[in-house]
Symmetry: C2
Subunit: 429 residues, 2 copies
Amino acid sequence: MATVEELKLRIRELENELIKSKQKQSDAEHHLRPKIDQMSAEVVDSNPYSRLMALKRMGIVQDYEVNMCIYYFYDTFILITACSCSDEHYTCCHSQKIRSFAVAVVGVGGVGSVTAEMLTRCGIGKLLLFDYDKVELANMNRLFFQPHQAGLSKVEAAEHTLRNINPDVAFETHNYNITTMDNFTHFMNRISHGGLEEGKPVDLVLSCVDNFEARMAINTACNELGQIWMESGVSENAVSGHIQLIIPGETACFACAPPLIVAANIDEKTLKRDGVCAASLPTTMGVVAGLLVQNVLKYLLGFGTVSYYLGYNAMQDFFPSMAMKANPQCDNRHCRRQQDEYKKKEAEQPKQEVVQEEEEVVHEDNEWGIELVSEVSEAELQDASGPVPDLPEGITVAYTIPEKDGASGETVEETDQSLEELMAQMRKM
Amino acid sequence: MATVEELKLRIRELENELIKSKQKQSDAEHHLRPKIDQMSAEVVDSNPYSRLMALKRMGIVQDYEVNMCIYYFYDTFILITACSCSDEHYTCCHSQKIRSFAVAVVGVGGVGSVTAEMLTRCGIGKLLLFDYDKVELANMNRLFFQPHQAGLSKVEAAEHTLRNINPDVAFETHNYNITTMDNFTHFMNRISHGGLEEGKPVDLVLSCVDNFEARMAINTACNELGQIWMESGVSENAVSGHIQLIIPGETACFACAPPLIVAANIDEKTLKRDGVCAASLPTTMGVVAGLLVQNVLKYLLGFGTVSYYLGYNAMQDFFPSMAMKANPQCDNRHCRRQQDEYKKKEAEQPKQEVVQEEEEVVHEDNEWGIELVSEVSEAELQDASGPVPDLPEGITVAYTIPEKDGASGETVEETDQSLEELMAQMRKM
């Protein structure tokens, strides 16, 4: 039998072991960096913002963080943004530009999770995350989530990782499907009241969802609220994607030029077969998230040219770019209302209109003098063409049937023969 | 004083607490998924490869995993790749295509770490990581590393995270600077012997370093070994980057058209000032890593068009693309040797030469019929031109001095007047 001394020795051993074990356990927590009150440009290894603050010194952004100086002058508070703060006579307070923004990310999957991580690492003020999915091992072929998070809700797992990366960001997560009636109302409410200062709207909504129903819900909400948002998407075969900036009333909304599946009112769920999943690649999703957040930074911090639409074709490394105006015949009544309001505003400020027109040129430099030219001359075109029909203004014909061989200009559509009869004729040839 | 019973009770309590603590500690490890012998296309949430195997069904890659069938036929072993394995009479073994490749990543920073993560999530066979840097909080504005890893070596921290994400990948890490004499020899050795099967070379080397000295070291090693590699880079102002495929002897190496700083033999360390750091963004680095690994996948798995050079200008969302042939006057003797060998091989296989020429067209489709056109006609050019000098074959003049105003075709270079005299004349005008 053990003596009291032996037992006491064992207790001391166990107590020591327990302390060590608990230390290891909370090791990660102990390493968490403390919150930072003010972003500094100081170049020391321990400063998580030094490489971002360098953007100002490099002349890329006017202000990554803005020093805001409030001083008291003849009984009046005067506010100066971007002050140098060298004057010690006044009371200075500091406000951070990137930190003053709240962004909502809808869909925290292959694109949305990386989008949220990039914004977190840039030191955004507040992130609102919406998703109703759980992390699965099948998601491990994209960046961000890790195998040990399988089974957790995506928003919960994301918040845990992101808060660990940057405790300065405020997080708000909603583990629900935005397309159901109740959730949609709540979603609208958070978009319009969940800004950095509660009660104010968010600065931007980012759509990182994988289905048209959710995109249409975001579109509906943003049209109604006049909320600027950005769309993103990756193709089912994993080798192309796009990002798009939507300014209600000004640029085409998602319903202005809907994909066929939406226009034809097909239930997309009927298109997904059991046992068949879409392909996805961490590369394509990483590139799309990168292009999306780059566009967000350019839009919020005011540098470079914000893209209206930017595509990514991975097979050819081709990046189409374009801008689409809102469709006056859009199905969405709030889009039409926003268009009317935009027109009114434009009419009131004729000078601003010119500036906006200039902004719509996406690629201003054309170093190689590339032009779109017709391979045939106007005269050749005239000779080769049939009679041009009488068309409403703004509509042109791509081609007409030439009157060669003395034919009467009869087109296939004008024949009385059925398709079957024509095919039978073809077989005889 | 405590009784023996009380002491024993305390021991039991401590033992239980210790077990619980250790369980929590290794919680992450318990959640680690087991290794997977063979990639499956089965669409279940627990399959980490389902979205990647779908690439084949989508018609993007011919084989993400190849089924290799070896069977015994009339006393002979016959090997069929990409067999359907429906025949039960033969002995089948399976080999994975993506798993058969080894890739070396030099530099595990903002681009390299994301590059390594993407390859890991794609299920690459083996990764060799080279870096001598430590993780710092100042790196937290890019993806991948987390604050609790500050102070760890980058390769050690990366391996830990990556192994956790995908235990099927083999990792080899080297915590050293490849540019010192001894390390360079070891680096060369691992490139030429550290393949998936020890003794064989790696399939690809990726340069993700942030200085020219390291790039030149990789260039020297790859030229000497005839090792195909890809270069990547991000500008100091964080808003542009590029990737480049280098095939020794065939395409321009890093020394064929060196940056000014290398050509002028300037020590880049003298350019870096204390207290000044380069700007960096998780967006630009994520996009460059995505474009790099996409090019790697296209090159290794044989889909799409592999880019020789692809640039990314974030300010304008402009993506220049080009191909550069090797420079016969390259400073690097191994590059010139590889060029000679490539020419010999080309001469021996005249048929293959045509195929290679075709491959160099980067953008084959030209949906919009974009052409490079001259703004002046041939006749106008003739009228506006002066005498065309006698030039060696292949060299053309960009412009000549027109003989307008009855001038004798005298050019500025031919005058006897000094620059000062000419400037004095201009001031009098």
